[in-house]
């Protein structure tokens, strides 16, 4: 009998009555209500007290704008709250505690769900109603909650061993920015990205507590290469940094270009061709590209050359007459190519593709970054000494032995 009464109570509590920890802190709710209704009530009181009907116009317009900002701010805060309060990554102490328990993804999270649930609809509906009163588009509050939520979720997925979903989510914010003037479409995009985020969240929680399968005990980890300093770090038996796969290089370039496009469109830079553009525009673009490309080329070159003394300096080359040292100097081919591409691509995109400034910049950034990241040689291949370029002695020994020698049956 006792059980019959307790279980329905539990279900009732779980589904109908929001648990205490699930609610936004009362202080924040009170702050929102004060900011939203306080000035309005004060203005209404003044209008009635002084019998001043003109107060209905100018100040009321300003007040509506202020209230709209309050609503949108509350939406952003709610999106932050929903994930910061309930995700094991973002709440201090939660993850270490959860690691000690027999919790698995098949159970609900002990402090409440990270994913959005029906109870969130109540809060979002309230904010939408408040927004609608002051002229905020009906789709904007929900879209803003979702956008902020997705951005934080993206970071938690990176930490929580669901990087593929995180990368897909990273394409979301620029799209939301591009659709900023069409809130209904923006909300639809947020909804689509939320589905991806939800799948990533499930995958991430299923992998909890997020340990690498080949995790090595901290005390057994090799010391960081940098800790040895030059030149020991090149000759020490330390595995070199893994080269960045070409696919990751293209993906990073695409992501940066996409974010740039989103920001430029959001700022009002045209995507389509500019009918007033002339040949001078091409020169301007090429000059801008050359400047940016020089920067990218220097970054690429510095990444390879800093901390490494050249085998022969300029003076040495002049004195010996060996101005070009192929095995060494081929590291400079990639920066030169990056610079060349940066100079040529904006003009080529303008001339052949007839795109506007925003798209032009995005295409150029994609091409230049792809080249800067992916062009050979890799750091490991270029190093003249150390584990990066020379196999370890034991491996050399094995390679020199005929097949079958030294192998146990």
């Amino acid at each position: 009998m006792k059980r019959l009464t307790l279980v329905p109570m539990s279900l009732l509590q779980r589904w109908l009555v929001p648990p205490r920890q699930f609610l936004v802190p009362a202080v924040l709710v009170a702050l929102f209500l004060t900011l939203y209704f306080g000035p309005e009530l004060a203005l209404e009181a003044l209008r009635r007290w002084f019998h001043a009907p003109e107060l209905r116009y100018g100040p009321w317009q300003d007040l509506r704008e202020f209230q709209a900002k309050v609503v949108l701010g509350a939406c952003a805060l709610y999106g932050l709250f929903r994930i910061f309060q309930f995700h094991p990554v973002t709440r201090p102490g939660y993850k270490p505690w959860l690691e000690q328990t027999p919790w698995t993804v098949r159970q609900p999270l002990p402090l409440g769900p990270v994913h959005l649930v029906l109870r969130d609809a109540l809060a979002i509906a309230g904010l939408t109603a408040c927004g609608a009163r002051v002229g905020v588009h009906w789709a904007l509050p929900a879209a803003l909650v979702g956008m902020v939520y997705l951005v934080v979720l993206m970071v938690t997925l990176l930490v929580g061993h669901a990087p593929k979903h995180a990368i897909v989510l990273a394409f979301g914010p620029p799209l939301f920015a591009i659709l900023a003037n069409q809130p209904a479409w923006m909300l639809a995009a947020v909804g689509a990205f939320y589905c991806i985020g939800y799948a990533g969240l499930r995958q991430s929680l299923a992998k909890f507590p997020w340990r690498d399968p080949d995790e090595v005990h901290p005390s057994l980890m090799p010391p960081k290469a940098l800790s040895l300093g030059w030149p020991l770090k090149w000759v020490a038996p330390i595995p070199p940094d893994k080269p960045v796969p070409a696919s990751i290089g293209f993906l990073v370039a695409l992501l940066v270009a996409w974010w740039l496009l989103g920001l430029m469109v959001f700022s009002g830079v045209p995507v389509g061709p500019d009918p007033h553009a002339d040949r001078l525009e091409i020169l301007r673009l090429m000059a801008g590209g050359a400047c940016c490309g020089l920067f990218a080329a220097v970054i690429r070159a510095v990444g390879y050359l800093v901390g490494t003394a050249p085998p022969l300096g300029t003076l040495g080359r002049l004195r010996t007459g060996r101005l070009v040292i192929p095995e060494y100097d081929h590291v400079l081919v990639a920066p030169a190519m990056v610079w060349l591409l940066a100079t040529v691509t904006p003009g080529a995109a303008f001339y052949f593709l007839h795109v506007g400034s925003a798209a032009n910049a995005a295409i150029s950034v994609f091409v230049v970054l792809s080249a800067a990241i992916n062009l050979a040689p890799t750091m490991a291949a270029w190093r003249l000494t150390g584990a990066g370029s020379h196999p370890a002695p034991a491996v050399v020994g094995r390679e020199r032995q005929p097949k079958g020698v030294g192998q146990e049956a």
Binding site: Q100, T101, L111, S219
Partner: protein
């Protein structure tokens, strides 16, 4: 059964545990004792799986800690670890936290509600059970954490300094009785770290004494007396094992006072 196999651990270059091995039988209450900084909490952390020993291993009911995902999950279903400074979400009430812990450990709802109420009553938290933990004193927080630990009804309990943290005499008495009941009647295995010999003498079946990361004694209180070569209370036995010079220092101190 808990089996600690040749565990060595160090923080940086400072060794904290050196080749510690011990076995805790099912239905046994074992107390870990040792001076501050001698590895009690580290050993508890290693048994609880929060720390990964540099060498050695821990087996619980035949499953090895941190070996495979399946084994680790099986161990977690059995083991409850209460650190010295347990984490409780500040926005939770004591009752919410106790119920949350019970649910995570899969305790049936009806049983959980009943047991939670009895525990809150036992630890004198009934009146405050619906207040957020942020408004609690440190002693009340400790009580809430103990209630949550006990409601899980885990067959293996690892308690790091359960009697410290501002627990009042009635809380200490209640905890002693509950722990003894869990061991005697429910065949639970309890390992607790505590620096208080009086509590250990009354409560523990066996006592493990750590000195500078080594296990210098692991036996019943009577066995430790014999090991230390003399009678006396457990704190004297403990001091003879851990810090043999302390008795002569005490004699020197009072001797000097008499001479003056």
């Amino acid at each position: 059964m808990i089996r600690v196999n040749n565990v060595t651990h160090h923080y940086g270059v400072r060794p904290v545990l050196r080749d510690v091995s011990l076995t805790v039988r099912r239905g046994e209450l074992v107390a870990l004792m040792g001076p501050n900084g001698m590895g009690k909490s580290t050993l508890m952390g290693v048994i609880a799986g929060t720390l990964w020993p540099v060498s050695g291993s821990v087996d619980i009911n035949g499953w090895r800690r941190r070996a495979t995902e399946g084994e680790e999950l099986a161990i977690r279903k059995l083991v409850l670890y209460l650190p010295a400074d347990p984490w409780i979400p500040r926005s939770f009430t004591a009752r919410q936290w106790v119920l949350t812990m019970g649910r995570v450990y899969g305790v049936e709802d009806a049983r959980l509600f009943d047991h939670a109420e009895r525990l809150l009553e036992l630890f004198d938290l009934s009146k405050q059970s619906d207040s957020p933990v942020s408004s609690f004193s440190s002693g009340q927080k400790k009580k809430a954490a103990l209630c949550a630990a006990l409601v899980a009804e885990a067959p293996v309990m690892l308690l790091d300094e359960p009697f410290s943290g501002g627990l009042d005499p009635s809380g200490i008495l209640a905890l002693k009785r509950v722990l003894r009941h869990r061991v005697d009647k429910e065949d639970a295995t309890v390992v607790m770290a505590t620096p208080v010999p009086e509590l250990v003498e009354e409560l523990a079946d066996r006592v493990a004494v750590l000195r500078e990361g080594r296990l210098v004694g692991y036996d019943s209180v009577e066995g430790l007396r014999q090991l230390a070569g003399g009678g006396g209370s457990l704190d004297e036995v403990y001091e003879r094992l851990v810090n043999p010079q302390v008795m002569s220092r005490i004699e020197d101190y009072f001797g000097a006072e008499r001479r003056a």
